[in-house]
Symmetry: D2
Subunit: 349 residues, 4 copies
């Protein structure tokens, strides 16, 4: 069997995970890597990659590869995808493609015209809990769906320095939930109402971001969704979903560190959820990259494509507009000129 030749761009936390998961597959050979930092390049060498570059362009030019995995900083994603598209190389790109809607549309247009495969890294779609829920919903186990509920809380708030360049809560965190909302019931979202506040760290208000939010989504068929977010849950990473319909309800709970139950005179005590996304989604990352590889081998449809990234971005931009104006916003109202700016002012709380 001829192996699929991979390159990898960016060997930070996520890049390392993808590299290790690729190297577990007999069908894959990782032949090239690039990182602008020396320690990323050293890591690649230690992992036995033959050709290690400091320039992405050079790597694409000088290597014979079938696919590239892009895990470099967000502001490089659009450019790197375009370079790969011109070279006819398939791309797995961490989300988001870009925070600017116009730029995203440009890139997707090029991807389409060049006919390359582009998969976006919405890792949660590959989590077995959510897959099970989606499958049961698709099989009709709950009849017609009426309501989707998503709880998504991080164990610890990022520093403000991160928030000011990430696009804020809705574009760096809730965007996963917007994708999940579309994924679970396989329907498009048409309207968004977002409410939020800086309840954990009031300092966030100064940079216009929030750390606590509640978002109501309406789908094309009248189904509703509720997302609740917090940047900091004292008990760890809280990732739950529930779908309610005419014949019942299905939900998925957190994965715990273990199943022990300790009973003493105070009550019964159980373990916390798995700490954060690296622990919770360890298997999902494995499945995600495998699915990408099999898509290349079998030339089948991508499980998550550029349009999925586009839709989630548009819902995110609608959420920003909604919270700023304190009113529901149609996703169709979002256009190229929507600027991504700091999202709240005093009056909106």
């Amino acid at each position: 069997m001829k192996k699929i030749k991979f390159a990898i761009a960016g060997l930070g936390r996520i890049g390392k995970i993808h590299l290790e998961n690729l190297q577990l597959m007999d069908e894959v050979e990782v032949v090239a890597a690039t990182d602008t930092h020396a320690d990323g390049r050293q890591y690649a060498e230690k992992k036995g990659i033959d050709r290690v570059f400091s320039s992405y362009e050079q790597m694409i030019k000088d290597s014979t590869i079938d696919a590239v995995v892009i895990c470099s900083p967000t502001d490089t994603h659009a450019d790197y995808v375009e370079i790969a598209a011109y070279a006819g190389v398939a791309v797995f790109c961490e989300k988001p493609l870009d925070l600017n809607l116009g730029r995203v549309l440009e890139v997707l247009k090029l991807v389409e015209s060049k006919g390359i495969k582009l998969m976006l890294g919405f890792n949660r779609r590959f989590d077995q809990e959510f897959l099970k829920v989606k499958k049961l919903v698709a099989q009709g186990a709950i009849g017609n769906h009426h309501l989707v509920k998503i709880t998504s809380r991080d164990p610890q708030a990022p520093p403000i320095s991160y928030v000011v360049q990430s696009g804020g809560l809705f574009l760096d965190m809730t965007i996963h939930d917007f994708d999940m909302a579309r994924f679970l019931v396989d329907k498009e979202v048409v309207e968004v109402y977002a409410k939020g506040a800086a309840l954990i760290n009031p300092e966030l208000s100064r940079v216009g971001d929030i750390d606590s939010a509640v978002i109501t989504l309406t789908y094309e068929d009248g189904t509703m969704a509720i997302i609740d977010n917090s940047r900091e849950a004292a008990y760890g990473y809280d990732q739950r979903v529930e779908v309610f319909g005419s014949k019942g309800m299905v939900k998925a709970d957190n994965n715990l560190n273990d199943t022990h139950q300790l009973y003493n005179s105070e009550g019964s005590h159980s373990a916390l959820p798995l700490h954060f996304f690296l622990e919770r989604y360890a298997d999902a990352y494995k499945t995600e990259i495998r699915d990408f590889v099999y898509t290349l081998i079998n030339n089948t449809d991508l499980p998550v494509d550029g349009n999925d990234g586009l839709q989630s971005l548009m819902i995110g931009l609608a959420a920003i507009k909604s919270i700023k104006e304190n009113k529901p916003v149609k996703v169709s109202e979002i256009n190229h000129n929507q600027e991504i700016s700091l999202i709240i002012d005093e009056s909106s709380i």
Copy 2:
């Protein structure tokens, strides 16, 4: 010990429950009852009540009583409370006091001027699950509260004939959740955004009601709440709450019919929630009326008073306005002239 003398008005489903629970108490003597229907009066006689009337006014005039429990139809509540107030009799009244805000304000004014005790029948406040959650929140177990979540789903939708006189979903069903939202964190709600649709029974649209709803509340301190409602859950009565805060989260789950777990080759199977409010809140009804009796005996503050009824009604009216106009509404915007009308039109879905 001198017993508290009670009268009871209305011996339908709830009236019977209150009567039986009162008769379990050594501190109480139920001396009079009234019902406009003969079978209600027969039930009262069978239960050993000495004086049974067909007219409420006559009962209040001709009996020597300390308190009256009003379980008659909603449209009699305001008048009956007023008659009791003039007679100086304490009142336990099933909710709502009235669907008309102006009328509610009138009654509360009279109640205050006459100095009688008026307790409203928000039975869920006496449910041990919710009490436990409230107590933990009040004790600081979760730190500062950021988010309240309430799921409230009925096992079966009422007939349309009921809905057209009840005030609709927000005033006959969600009103319990509005009260619960205030109760759990002991804070006032200042803004409401409601979204809903007739997803179970599209016929409801013709009378302007909905059967599925998602409501976002904002409290005076920035805390948010989400309520989700459905008129019909295939798996029965679903009554869950969750409060999230800076130090953790506390939730209460449904009470199940039993704790059995059956494991076979298909999976594991457990019991359904207790069927409906009579089963789920059987103990809460008992505690509720006992608390009212002890309030009279000890002359202490009421656990739920007229203002609680007023606040929930105003939040309900704000929710109606919100869904009609598809925008968030401040509770302070609601005034005497707010008409309670059919709540949705096509464009709001």
Copy 3:
């Protein structure tokens, strides 16, 4: 409808429960009561019983009753049942009938010859959790049963003064589990192996009792059962059962004080089991006495009869013999001359 006339003997903790539950039933009139203590008699009077006696014999002679509930001390049970049998009065008797096997056989013979109904107070048979398990087993939900597991732990050890007159752990506590073992699969037990020790309170060894035990039962069809007992569980009353069979397994867990779950940085925390038998079996006591009443009204078979008491006693005596001799004992080995004596010596631990 003619009401069933009841007398009650003994108004201690259990007597009060039976009296209150009888007085809730429209089909029953409690007309007489007896207690050797003045406060028991005062309680009866306060509860509105017309004829209150200090002598059981006199009560039976002077009252017109259909049935008597015997809740007096264990050493009166046999005599009181006999007196009722001679008077043709139906009996509900708290367990055990007697600790002496020969005496039990005498009483049962008289009961049979007089043709009165005699029900034994194995209250756990009326607990909805265990009833559900039994029902599923009987319906074939788990196929052929192979193993029964019963965990039964009390929240607090009784004083040694109690143990020396109760017959010890196997006859005052495990006897409920022996009955449960027979009840769940509706099969007779043929062999017993018991192992135990005084692990909580070593002082118990001096009076020959134990506080911790593991008992293996074998049924007539080869099915096995395991019972584990402790006199003192720090977390409260632990009452669980499990039945395993060819097609699956069914188990019932403890009823908790409430369903709350508190999550904080330490883990998740839930409520303790209901404290002790009065709380856990409150509903079972209600159902038990109702079932007895309906048996009398409809002249149907008793749900628990004298033979059930006999079988459990014989298993208990076999367990005592087993632990003393440290070997399995056939229930058929137990005969009239089996003395109930202190059960362990040093060498058996």
Copy 4:
């Protein structure tokens, strides 16, 4: 860093797992492999092992290795360990060392005299659920331990052909539970009482084995343990433990396939346990071999050594003697001449 050089003997199901887990470690180099079957050798070559042998002796003689992992058939274990011992090579050996007690003692004596490290493959000791329970017990979270409960049920019975050479239920299956019983409370077992029957497949009786068993163990300090086994649970692999003590109780439940809960009109439905040991203990296998490697690197004590294998074998032999004679057996009664024979006859059921 100098890598530890490993050889592996036997590339069946478990051998493959150990090989893959070793190859994940940067500290290890697997340099040689042996298998008597060609496909095992081919697998080794495919996995990049340089030197692949058909003879174990030759491999040990011709390779420069620090350690060998023995996953070949049980009847080779003793010989292979001895060969490694003479060569001064550390050994990780799958259990059991041998079914013959005398042979085990011989091998352990040689291992000791040669001073090599010998670790036995009791994989369950590395399962995070059981480790958590052990840790809490060791920390005193439940006070003094009184009772250990172990449930161990396989999803499907092996063929009779397997049973006749495995030593039967107690030596091929319960032996894991005997080890677990010792592990959880870190105490030695002194007495065994075993009861069992062929309830799933009566044909087993012909070869003298059973498929369902209940075993009572007594530890040196009076603590008791109960183990229940079944060869076939319709709902899959059931691996639960519970330890009860003076201050509380701790238990660990099965790991499920996922956390979903589906509620419909029939009840609520959840996932089955992970199918069998390969799924349930996938992580435990990884931790087990890692711990062995770190023991070699740091020259520390083995987490499971030859004596652990010896003790479990002796408890197993005592269980066989107990069920044959239907009486409790002291572990100290077991001696070299105890023959391992078919374990039941008709009269013992």
